[in-house]
Symmetry: C2
Subunit: 332 residues, 2 copies
């Protein structure tokens, strides 16, 4: 125990105890299901509405449980820390979210998540399940846990906007189409200043010298593009924003959502320093930052670092982003 300096009782029980606390704190928004563990809306999915389900390893809170609620997800499936949820867990969540109009599963592109959601959809054979895979991380093409690009903070935009489409009554086909449109127009890249420690691992997930940072880090501490000496925030922000904007092919006159996400251990003051420069760089390209989100939404436990996400907006996506949402982590 002494090797892991955390507010936990036991690495084996931290996810369950955390979910129990989460459910007890927010009974008006979420309901916690045990054996197997998953989270649904307190009031369930409204009859006839497309159900939205996401999930993945724990340790990225508030993703995904914090996004369950009116206007966003219907259910979330938390695996063990940094470990995909099992098909046994996912299948009943898919069924619970099914209110007769089918279910959209929003899956981050990690091999285990993709495979286990696929198997779960087969198990939940009476539920019509469609799947979209989020792959917004421009840092690397393949990684330790992925074929193709990883799914990272852009997932929040997919869940919010597809959630709003489902809430207004879109069909399953239409919700899938909106989710795919977000995925096609969102890109992210992150940086780590420190590693994080998974409770049951008992030691940091990687070594990062005191004077170096990792550009292009994944949300599990997977290696990124390169390790460089610590630099100023403006310089680091440019290393994140430029590949994101280039990959999107942003041109002057376009409007975007700019989302600066904290990895968990970075003070809010620093996230706003990054936001300031990312915004200035976009404006320097003639791009209008029409919507903004700054905070810890897709974390890597206590990792210090941040990611920059840009979503190209049109009128439809803007209206769906602005639509009311009532979850524990996003509310307007």
């Amino acid at each position: 125990m002494a090797a892991v300096k955390k507010l936990i009782n036991d690495p084996q029980t931290v996810v369950a105890e955390s979910l129990e606390g989460f459910g007890a704190a927010h009974p008006d928004v979420v309901a916690i299901h045990r054996d197997p563990w998953f989270v649904t809306r307190a009031a369930g999915t409204s009859a006839g509405k497309v159900g939205l389900v996401s999930g993945g390893g724990s340790g990225h809170e508030p993703l995904h449980g914090g996004f369950v609620g009116v206007g966003m997800l219907d259910a979330a499936v938390p695996g063990a820390m940094f470990t995909s949820p099992t098909p046994d867990q996912i299948a009943p969540a898919l069924q619970a979210a099914d209110a007769g109009a089918g279910v959209l599963a929003i899956v981050k592109n990690y091999t285990g998540d993709v495979l286990n959601f696929e198997m779960a959809a087969e198990v939940a054979e009476d539920t019509e399940v469609r799947t979209v895979v989020v792959n917004d991380d421009v840092a690397v093409e393949d990684s330790l846990y992925t074929a193709g690009r990883r799914g990272v903070a852009g997932t929040v935009a997919v869940e919010k906007i597809a959630g709003a489409a489902a809430e207004r009554g879109d069909s399953l086909d239409a919700v899938v189409a909106v989710a795919e449109k977000v995925i096609a127009n969102v890109r992210s890249m992150g940086v780590a200043l420190t590693a994080c420690t998974v409770p049951h691992a008992g030691k940091p997930s990687f070594d990062l010298p005191d004077d170096e940072i990792e550009i292009g880090i994944g949300i599990h501490g997977e290696p990124g593009r390169r390790r460089i000496p610590l630099a100023g925030a403006d310089e680091i922000t440019e290393m994140l924003l430029t590949p994101v904007a280039d990959d999107l092919g942003l041109v002057g006159g376009e409007k975007v959502l700019l989302f600066v996400n904290g990895m968990g251990g970075t003070p809010a003051s620093e996230l706003y320093v990054v936001y300031r420069q990312a915004r200035a760089l976009l404006e320097g390209r003639g791009v209008e930052v029409a919507r903004s989100l700054v905070g810890n939404y897709v974390t890597s436990l206590e990792m210090q670092g941040a990611s920059v996400t840009v979503l190209r907006l049109d009128d439809e996506l803007t209206a769906l982003w602005d639509a009311p949402v009532h979850t524990t982590a996003l509310r307007w």
Copy 2:
């Protein structure tokens, strides 16, 4: 620079750059004033409403700027990191918040804050200013920076509830009375697992061995009650909750708000583990947890740790807590 591993450009500019980012990200909620620096509501104080102003050293974000908006503060005055704002900064914020019904200054009990708000009220002589001092920390009676108890996370409850009273049209006397009622009924205590580093200091604010934690820590890393070996979360939570509940003199049948606050670097999953146990301990005393708040609201930069705050509720305080609020950090 290499000694301080942060997403900043320069320790001397981090507060200003962060405020610029904050203002640019949330123009619908806040307006940033330069020379001197302070934050107001984007739309200003409504005519005839009592103005609410708070402030203090930076590094505790979202406190206080994140609580500016309808239903809560009218203005916030950020000092340098962990340093009181100057009277020159505070006076124009008091004047800006004055819409003809006077201004309540909500001050955390630190010698510099109390003194500088007092001097500012003298400078802003045309504005009627009343002051309440928040002193919710039961850990120590006097500290490095205080005579009497320190003001910590309970400040959020004072600002929210007094803000709701001002919004419903209460007179200055009545808003002062509500704020004093919250102060009389709120208590807090915190724990640190790690120290934090103030950018311009360039080294951690104190030394904490790898296998020890500090019980009763202040929000600037001031010494607490005692240093003990790392323990399990339930045991640590009991060390925080018990003095808080005892000091409040809680008895069975009472209702409370339970607020578990993260110090900045603690994952959300761990805060909910603490919440779960704090709630169980209150329920074990026959106390009903009627309202809850869990998250990073009064931070100490990237410090790992948490505090437990309990507010005794009655019908009036509950209704004011539930009243609509529209700030960047609290919104319902």
